[in-house]
């Protein structure tokens, strides 16, 4: 089910696409020129709506629909490109910037035109320092070529794009926390509504989209809606850059049409190349750390938003983590909840306290080797108190690893208890990690 032509990861078709001249020679910036000179912003919004493009940042919300939420006649408006990419197991935005930066910049510019914004910020996680420089250089080239700045191509449209680096906080990927951070505050989410489209950055109408989402836009405008929709499924059109990691032979980013079976991503020699050492699959986390776990029973699931939701998980960020039978489920849950505890912004109690107690309990059970039957009840009780009660999705996501582990591998928790009690109180830590 391979692609004849990549939509986003075009470096696979055109090796030098990261070079501005090469990008131009292959039609780069022409979609933007066409839009500015021949189409109205509303035309572009309609095109994106018709394409069925869905946000790649996690929720899969239809991009054109989101753009349509902007209140009429209210300016200035802002476009934010979310490149906070910090979800464990997700690394496709990183590659898009390294290998095809001009397409992202063109996508940002084109989308800014569509939503009638004159300023766009690309918010990058602080660790993407080198990638920020790559983008800054690509932006400078676009200014030089006359695609950014004042009165672009004589059309009267002005646009400035700025790169803004965060400073190490996963929560700043949450859209309203990102706006707080961009306003110079600590990254704590805002209450919604009002939604960003109505009151976002500096209280102005704001659209926020993921890197991969925006990188799709120039190709939709260039090649048309029908071409775009010829990829993927009816409800999840286009392609997704899946980040495949863990115990596979060929970890990496693979751009595949939505609907490709999970098995193909993992096993095809062109993609994952199968499991390292041929060991069996134990846990599959299909959409970054926030996604409920799947197991080898789910290998035939098509990778699209609907199918994964139907299987009780989510496509999320498209970061597919595959772990083999050498890992301990409680340990994986512990490590993942340690992530959420570390990244909890501390604003609301269920998440701040819940992640803390999950990690404390799991640490004792898994790392120190002291587990009692009551601990299992405690874990259940903690995540139940968190679920549905957190201020933002980070806290809700923190429920997933422990809930999945307890549901799918209850016997491993019981085994921890048994091994602990058979040790009769001797303080010998269990070795459960590989």
């Amino acid at each position: 089910m391979g692609l004849t032509e990549h939509i986003v990861m075009r470096e696979l078709d055109i090796p030098d696409i990261s070079d501005f001249a090469v990008y131009r020679r292959h039609g780069g910036w022409e979609a933007y020129r066409y839009a500015l000179t021949e189409k109205t912003p509303a035309d572009i919004v309609q095109m994106v709506k018709d394409s069925g493009l869905r946000g790649r940042g996690g929720a899969g919300f239809p991009t054109g629909v989101k753009w349509g939420f902007l209140p009429k006649g209210v300016y200035p408006r802002y476009l934010l490109c979310n490149c906070d990419e910090s979800e464990p197991g997700t690394f496709n935005n990183h590659q898009i910037i390294d290998k095809n930066p001009h397409q992202l910049i063109e996508g940002v510019a084109l989308s800014a035109y569509a939503i009638e914004a004159n300023v766009a910020y690309i918010y990058m996680r602080g660790e993407f320092a080198a990638a920020a420089r790559t983008l800054e250089r690509a932006i400078a080239q676009a200014y030089e070529a006359g695609f950014l700045g004042k009165n672009i191509l004589g059309t009267g449209f002005d646009l400035d794009i700025y790169v803004h680096r965060g400073a190490g906080a996963y929560i700043c990927g949450e859209e309203t926390a990102l706006m707080e951070s961009l306003e110079g505050k600590i990254g704590q989410p805002r209450l919604k509504p009002p939604f960003p489209a109505v009151a976002g950055l500096y209280g102005k109408p704001t659209i926020i989209n993921n890197v991969e989402t925006l990188a799709n836009v120039p190709r939709i405008v260039e090649k048309g809606v029908a071409w775009y929709r010829s990829h993927g499924t009816e409800k999840s059109p286009g392609t997704k850059c899946f980040s495949l990691s863990g115990h596979v032979n060929r970890p990496g980013n693979y751009e595949l049409p939505f609907g490709v079976p999970l098995r193909e991503l993992i096993e095809s020699p062109e993609y994952g190349g199968g499991m390292k050492g041929g060991r069996p699959v134990k846990i599959i986390i299909p959409g970054g750390a926030s996604a409920p776990w799947l197991t080898a029973d789910h290998l035939d699931i098509p990778l699209d938003y609907e199918s994964l939701a139907a299987a009780g998980s989510m496509l999320g960020s498209g970061g597919v983590i595959v772990l083999n039978d050498t890992v301990s489920a409680p340990y994986v849950a512990y490590k993942m909840d340690e992530f959420f505890k570390h990244e909890s912004c501390g604003k609301c109690t269920p998440c701040r306290e819940g992640t803390h107690w999950l990690v404390r309990t799991l640490h004792r059970m898994v790392e120190e080797g002291h587990a009692t039957a009551a601990d299992i009840d405690t874990l259940h009780s903690i995540y139940r108190q968190m679920a549905g009660n957190c201020f933002c999705l980070l806290g809700e996501s923190a429920v997933m690893p422990i809930k999945s582990a307890l549901q799918l591998f209850p016997h491993e928790f019981e085994a921890l208890v048994k091994r602990s009690s058979s040790r009769n109180g001797h303080q010998i830590p269990l070795i459960v990690r590989h």
Partner: protein
């Protein structure tokens, strides 16, 4: 010399990007951190003054974000990802090797002030595990046998690192060549498909051995992200 004296032009460019001065707090803190080595109370107050903010607001920001240091750190801050999936792909072995070579634990600095070691969460490079950042320069595929090469390289570049600071404002990415040297990845490097010519073909997938799989050798990965400059 104040921050404003040293970096007047850069500060003005930064401020011009935003509708509100306060938005410049992260970029200015990076600037201050690189100028003074870490964020002293004085430096934080200086940033507050430039931005007309109450100092407490800036102290709060420094405390919230992990890339700001309000205490002295080494010339090189080494941040190793120990998240899932890296922790199953050699991160723990890498951390152990670094601790052994440096003679320090996590969150400590070597007595010569050269290295600070930290564990961090996912660095969005899980396909290149084990991975770390040295002053936010990415270094990919750092298997434990490559630690000495890495540390020597960083020691050689210490003067440069002191000049640039720890905030990554001039960051580059690095990887190892096939013969084990550490090289900078060209910015805007073309994508090059993985060439298996001249290399032993990867071993066929065999039925599961009774033992745990070997640590990732860093060899059999496709070049979908960074192309080797060689």
């Amino acid at each position: 010399m104040t921050l404003l004296d040293i970096h007047q032009a850069e500060i003005e460019t930064i401020l011009a990007r935003y509708a509100s001065k306060r938005s410049a707090v992260l970029p200015l803190l990076y600037l201050a951190q690189d100028t003074y080595g870490y964020l002293t109370d004085e430096a934080i107050r200086e940033v507050a003054t430039i931005l007309d903010l109450p100092p407490t607001d800036v102290f709060e920001v420094v405390g919230f974000y992990t890339l700001f240091y309000n205490r002295p750190v080494g010339t090189w801050v080494l941040q190793v990802c120990d998240d899932v999936p890296c922790c199953f792909c050699g991160a723990e072995e890498l951390i152990a090797a670094l601790k052994h070579s440096l003679g320090i634990n996590e969150e400590e600095t070597t007595p010569d002030g050269m290295f600070t070691l930290q564990r961090v969460k996912c660095l969005a490079a899980c396909d290149r595990a084990p991975v770390l950042q040295a002053n936010l320069d990415y270094v990919y595929d750092v298997t434990p046998d490559r630690v000495d090469t890495l540390l020597n390289n960083l020691r050689e570049r210490a003067a440069e690192a002191r000049k640039r600071g720890v905030s990554g404002r001039f960051a580059e990415d690095y990887e190892f060549t096939r013969d084990g040297r550490l090289v900078q990845i060209e910015r805007f490097s073309p994508y090059r498909p993985r060439e298996f010519a001249g290399e032993a073909s990867p071993p066929p997938v065999t039925p599961p051995p009774a033992v745990a799989p070997e640590a990732d050798s860093g060899i059999d990965r496709p070049e979908t992200r960074k192309a080797s400059p060689l």
